[in-house]
């Protein structure tokens, strides 16, 4: 069927309108006269879906027609896709056509786009990175697919009640999403639990048998991912855990129907909810099963597809690359081995060679205490056969490592997959490193620390495995879609090449002295700030002035990201006005957004502190509107798309050595926000690109902080005693001045800094931060000078396109190529 197969040439307004009318009537069941905005969203999405399906089929055919094609499968527990309607229209190249077509029908595209719920199947950077990667893979025409879980409830919806975060369930469309294509014919049957029967085979060899398991059923739902230009449509395959009575009975030719029905509630729980943070997930049986469910369904799907085109597994690693997004999918090592050995009778050595050559592991964690581990008794209960295989992998590895490093018992102990604690733990990072041919960090500094601090023994053993792949973000979503005004300006000045080749932004440099262009850049920013001001008013009823400097910190709330340092600086500025009677050089609006994990008390207290400071500052007549503080609730991808284009200043102020990369820093910079930040994560590479005069770097380095920790020389009390500014701010936080309704509310924050060692070095970096902020104000006070810096930041962000990142992964790790 060729109805819309020629997706480059066949769009017309009338086709699109006919399709909308059809779906309003036959998919939503309404007359045009009674149609709601939600119905219109659904009809528009279903109309676009037809193009996407045609694109998926033609892309799949194109890939299949090339015999030796290698395919990448990106395993991630999180994919933060956000909204899709605008993005899909943009990448199809019919955004304007669709807007006009709808306008003719009396429908506002913006209004219906705004009705789409975010697919919030992730917590933050890790999940959004996965989504950006899928966009780049499709745009580059590379065979690469995401594999994840179709959570019914994504990340919680955040409400702010009296300054406190309240969490509400956020049910996205899930299986009813117009973007998802159900594939029950590809359902996977997955065993879990049970026990090992120790038996001998017919030749008298040990033959462990995995008996008494229960059944999980994974139904795939494909989320099309269209590349820019529409030529390639890959997909994200999301598995829903389902019981058996809701789909085609044919699945039960090899399924356990009655048990599946009995387990209906239990099995469907598997894909019910995304864990809101690693720390909350730690040790939870359901989380372990979720990770296994993702891995087992995905590997079953991939091996089935591979075997439909190949007779043996000899070339598996030449046709299949699997990337593990952090340790969450690291059971892949054991599941691939189990599949090869138990189900297909491969010899251990051969199975191991193929497994290792197939898998790559991306590390996102720098804190040793945050590395994922699972108690051995829990693993044995849930996955007894996998635990056996992990023990065998470990035994063989230790024998190998002892040969290479005969006099290093500590190194062997550190590298062992099994931690000899009570109870014993399975170290998932060690399993991933041992079972993969590549281990990468996500920024230069991070990859260095992975080698030197996190896994020095592995690095000594296998230096060639370790490499860096600095993160990137897709400019299609984060500039083209989210910042149409800047995109239009870029189009007028340097054309559209940057959309698929972001290095072309460097062409802007020759306009740095063009006062007309600089004025346009500032005007664009102002209009984006006005757009954000409206959103702020709608969500908080607070009016902010778009002529003030918009100082933005948007990210998950976490102590290491140091929103607290930002708040302390705000209090300092406030006290400068009301006690020192000094006016600010430029008026500022401090904008926060971000969610705290529900069980993370300190992060939730920081949210309350932000709102309490806002309450005091915003109402104090002495401030004379020189500063305002606002926390916008429910940070998510779609909100980020409004905030980021409007930012003047990007707060990237984590404690050095704690942020693996960050990607918000890149998004903000490419939208013309200047960075105030520490020498951490990708900030360092942004500094290298834009030059020291176009970024505000402050604070202690990783090495300096490390030395202070080693010497135990950091004493936050000294900073308190010796610096009036610091003492004044801390005293306010320790008093009830910010929390008249709840006495002593912020005492835990005060104590953590002054009595419990200030683990995140707030006070060590406080004065340098104040100084950097003062320099920001002085520069912002000179609009043309500021605008030049803005242009440099935009022009030099080419490196931070996820297209570059994906090309590096493809070349260095996966061995995949564009298939156009």
């Amino acid at each position: 069927m060729q109805k819309k197969a020629d997706i480059e040439n066949s769009y017309s307004k009338s086709d699109f309108q006919q399709s909308i009318l059809y779906h309003v009537r036959y998919s939503t069941g309404n007359d045009w006269d009674n149609v709601s905005v939600d119905d219109l969203y659904k009809a528009a999405a279903l109309s676009i879906r037809e193009y996407l399906i045609d694109g998926m089929l033609s892309t799949s055919k194109r890939y299949n027609d090339q015999n030796d094609i290698k395919t990448l499968y990106y395993f991630s527990m999180e994919f933060l896709m956000g909204r899709s309607l605008g993005n899909n229209l943009m990448n199809l190249g019919i955004f304007d056509l669709a807007r006009e077509a709808l306008e003719d029908m009396g429908v506002d595209l913006e209004e219906i786009r705004d009705r789409e719920k975010d697919a919030a199947l992730g917590n933050g950077g890790l999940g959004r990175l996965a989504a950006c990667f899928l966009d780049s893979l499709a745009t580059l025409g590379m065979p690469g697919y995401g594999y994840g879980i179709n959570y019914q409830f994504g990340l919680f919806k955040q409400e702010i009640d009296n300054g406190f975060q309240k969490e509400k369930p956020d049910q996205w469309y899930n299986e009813n999403s117009p973007w998802l294509i159900s594939k029950p014919e590809d359902a996977c049957i997955i065993p879990v639990y049970g026990k090992i029967d120790h038996f001998e085979d017919m030749d008298g060899n040990y033959n462990p048998m995995w008996m008494d398991w229960k059944i999980l059923i994974g139904i795939p739902y494909d989320f099309p991912v269209i590349g820019f230009g529409g030529k390639t449509v890959n997909f994200l395959r999301l598995f829903s855990a389902k019981s058996s009575d809701e789909f085609d009975m044919s699945i039960f030719n090899d399924g356990d129907y009655f048990k599946a029905v009995e387990q209906k509630i239990a099995s469907e729980t598997i894909s019910k909810v995304l864990y809101p943070s690693d720390s909350i997930a730690q040790g939870k049986e359901l989380r372990l099963i979720q990770e296994y469910f993702l891995v087992a369904c995905s590997i079953r799907d991939i091996t089935r597809k591979y075997l439909s085109q190949n007779d043996s597994f000899d070339n598996f690693h030449k046709k299949v690359a699997i990337q593990l997004n952090d340790t969450h999918p690291s059971l892949s090592v054991a599941e691939l081995m189990r599949t090869f050995i138990d189900e297909y009778d491969l010899e251990w050595e051969k199975a191991w060679r193929i497994t290792e050559k197939t898998l790559g592991y991306t590390n996102h964690t720098l804190l040793p205490e945050a590395l994922e581990k699972w108690p051995v008794p829990l693993m044995e209960h849930v996955l007894p056969r996998h635990l056996q295989i992990i023990y065998e992998i470990n035994n063989r590895f230790i024998n190998y490592a002892k040969n290479i490093l005969p006099n290093h018992p500590d190194a062997i102990r550190n590298m062992s997959i099994i931690e000899e604690s009570n109870p014993k733990q399975v170290r998932m990072a060690n399993l991933s490193i041992i079972g993969s041919h590549s281990v990468n960090g996500v920024a230069e500094i991070h990859s260095g620390l992975v080698k030197e601090r996190l896994f020095p023994d592995f690095h000594q053993l296998w230096p060639e495995k370790f490499n860096n792949k600095t993160n990137g973000v897709t400019q299609r979503r984060w500039v083209l879609k989210s910042n149409p005004l800047l995109s239009k300006l870029l189009h007028e000045v340097i054309g559209d090449g940057w959309i698929t080749d972001m290095s072309q932004l460097s062409k802007l440099e020759k306009y740095m002295s063009d006062s007309g262009f600089l004025a346009n850049i500032l005007q664009t920013k102002k209009e984006n700030k006005e757009r954000l001001a409206k959103v702020i008013f709608e969500s908080t009823r607070m009016r902010v002035d778009s002529d003030t400097l918009f100082d933005v910190q948007v990210k998950r709330i976490h102590e290491y990201k140091r929103q607290l340092l930002n708040v302390m600086q705000i209090i300092h500025q406030y006290l400068t006005i009301i006690e020192d009677k000094k006016d600010l050089v430029v008026p500022k609006t401090y904008i926060f957004a971000g969610k705290a994990a529900p069980g993370y008390k300190m992060a939730k207290l920081i949210i309350k502190l932000i709102n309490s400071v806002a309450n005091v500052v915003n109402k104090d007549p002495l401030v004379k509107d020189q500063m305002k503080v606002v926390m916008i609730p429910d940070y998510k991808v779609s909100l980020a798309e409004t905030i980021i284009p409007a930012a003047d200043l990007s707060e990237q102020i984590s404690t050095a050595g704690m942020e693996a990369s960050g990607t918000g820093n890149m998004k903000l910079s490419m939208n013309g926000a200047l960075t105030i930040g520490t020498l951490d994560g990708a900030n360092i590479e942004i500094l290298e690109e834009v030059g020291a005069e176009n970024i505000y770097i402050f604070g202690h380095t990783v090495q300096e902080l490390q030395k202070m920790k080693q010497d135990q020389s950091y004493n936050p009390r000294e900073f308190y005693d010796n610096h009036f500014h610091i003492k004044r701010v801390m005293d306010i936080m320790g008093s009830n001045a910010l929390c008249s309704d709840i006495s002593g509310l912020f005492q835990p924050i005060y104590n953590k800094i002054l009595r419990e060692g200030d683990y995140y070095f707030h006070l060590a970096d406080f004065q340098p931060y104040i100084d950097a902020q003062e320099q920001v104000s002085l520069d912002y006070h000179q609009p043309e000078k500021w605008a030049e810096k803005v242009v440099v930041n935009i022009a030099r962000m080419g490196k931070f396109s996820s297209d570059r990142t994906i090309q590096e992964y493809a070349h260095d790790i996966w061995g995949i190529k564009p298939c156009l």
């Binding site: 038996f199 017919m202 033959n207 048998m209 030719n253 090899d254 009655f258 189900e343």
Partner: protein
């Protein structure tokens, strides 16, 4: 649980009539198999050509039957469909049973045993 039983020389051929061997019939299946063994039928060929699915409890009965023989006889299986073979491989049970594509092949195996 419906089983059809016949003897071919020293071999008892047990044909499962049910389409499924699962938790609902596992107990009865086990009782019948144990009964056959206790009656001195030590060479058993299980024909499951009509079985489209075996769950983990069904698999457990087959293993228990082998154990019940206690090394005194032979237990072979024939005519397994692909789905059942997959379940055997999943559990590694394919490595402890003689598996044959047809009843004839299975009976030949037993015949050769007695002549060896």
């Amino acid at each position: 649980m419906q089983l059809e039983v016949r003897h071919e020389k020293s071999v008892m051929v047990v044909t499962v009539i049910n389409a499924r061997i699962d938790a609902q019939v596992a107990e009865e299946f086990k009782n019948q198999m144990f009964q056959f063994i206790s009656e001195g039928n030590l060479n058993i060929l299980l024909n499951i050509s009509q079985v489209s699915f075996v769950d983990s409890s069904g698999l457990g009965v087959i293993v228990a039957s082998l154990k019940q023989l206690n090394g005194q006889g032979q237990f072979a299986i024939c005519n397994m469909n692909d789905a059942v073979v997959r379940m055997f491989k999943l559990t590694r049970m394919n490595k402890i049973f003689k598996l044959f594509d047809s009843e004839e092949e299975g009976l030949n195996y037993f015949a050769n045993l007695s002549t060896d």
